[in-house]
Amino acid sequence: MSEKDEFNFEEIDISTSQESFDGNDSYFIHRDYANKLNRKLSFLDRKGMNSRLAFWSLIVLTIIGFLFLVILYSYNTFENTSLLIDEVNGLESAYLGVQLLSRVRNEAIGSMSTRSYLEELEEKIPIEAKPGDYKGITVTGGSRDILDIVEMIVNEPKILVRKLELRSNLGFPILPESNIPSNLSLELKTDLTVTGNF
């Protein structure tokens, strides 16, 4: 097809415009453009909007969309995730602290409880297993018995000695030949605290 065939030539009557034009004039329309003009246009093809307005509207829409739906969302989620991780780390720290302290406490209490013979001691001096201060305890007896009681008190892990005084009824000097007299007695005066820690 020659180039000429692609155009529709039509005569134009321009008799009234002799001043500017001599001879016959013609206008031509490219066939593709003619087809385009003849094409059935939909509503969306017919309607349009200002290009500049459309361009800037889409730019603004893009910015706002990204700002709210991506950037703000990312910021909030990042903040919340960081806070969550901090809280999880805090929980882990507290949990490990509880585990460690529990172990320390249980081991200490277990170790001391197995060495305790407070019930036996209750029978020898006027104290109870109930936690509290026991003041003005006085016990008099044979030296061996009292020394045993002192040893029990000192070795009893649940008892703290606030004050203790142990006196013998011996005078001075003591004759070695006489050995220890059979009537030797000791007096124990003590203030004790039975702990409630375990």
Partner: protein, 190 residues
């Protein structure tokens, strides 16, 4: 001549169809970006969940994916454990104080006992033993054979510093010597 204005000042018009297509592309881009961002954070949460799995198992917590609810739940649990930790910490401190006092007390009595069991003396007779505020005091006699009197020394090394003070030595019938000792134990840290 036909006046054809090739550089028209007429405003360019964009077809609504193309505008809507561009709009759709923009919306898809925005939503796609948001989806990827959400996926990234979700992956991070899954990592945290895996890393701290033992913690969640032992504390009975789990991450639901709802960040605000998870933060609140973890915070509550943390508070619970913090209260527990503080309570245990107080108990352990009380126990430590108790054990410290008890060990001072035991050290004082063991030191006194060590001095009373003087291996150089024939016999030891304690006349008075006192203990108060972590300080022990003992007044005792050491009986030596002949005139071989020695300064009081403990059989074993005491853990507390002791301060034995010999009040006097007395010969008795040229067979024995009697030594009076006033021993103070502890109280050096005050």
């Amino acid at each position: 001549m036909v006046d054809v204005n090739l550089y028209s000042r007429k405003k360019r018009v964009s077809r609504l169809k193309y505008s809507l297509i561009v709009l759709l592309i923009i919306v898809l881009l925005v939503l796609g970006s948001r989806f990827f961002v959400a996926q990234a954070f979700e992956t991070r949460l899954r990592q945290v969940s895996r890393m701290k799995g033992y913690l969640f198992d032992n504390t009975g917590t789990y991450l639901t994916g709802n960040l605000k609810a998870d933060i609140e739940m973890i915070y509550d649990k943390k508070q619970e454990y913090t209260v527990m930790k503080n309570k245990l910490s107080k108990q352990v401190n009380d126990l430590r104080a108790h054990v410290n006092s008890k060990s001072v007390e035991m050290d004082v009595f063991r030191t006194i006992e060590a001095y009373l069991e003087d291996e150089n003396a024939m016999k030891t007779i304690a006349s008075r033993i006192q203990f108060e505020n972590g300080v022990g005091n003992s007044f005792y006699y050491l009986i030596f054979e002949g005139e071989n009197v020695s300064f009081p020394t403990p059989k074993s090394t005491p853990t507390l510093l002791a301060n034995p003070s010999v009040r006097g030595n007395l010969d008795f019938a040229e067979l024995y010597s009697l030594q009076l000792v006033d021993l103070k134990v502890g109280g050096h840290n005050e």
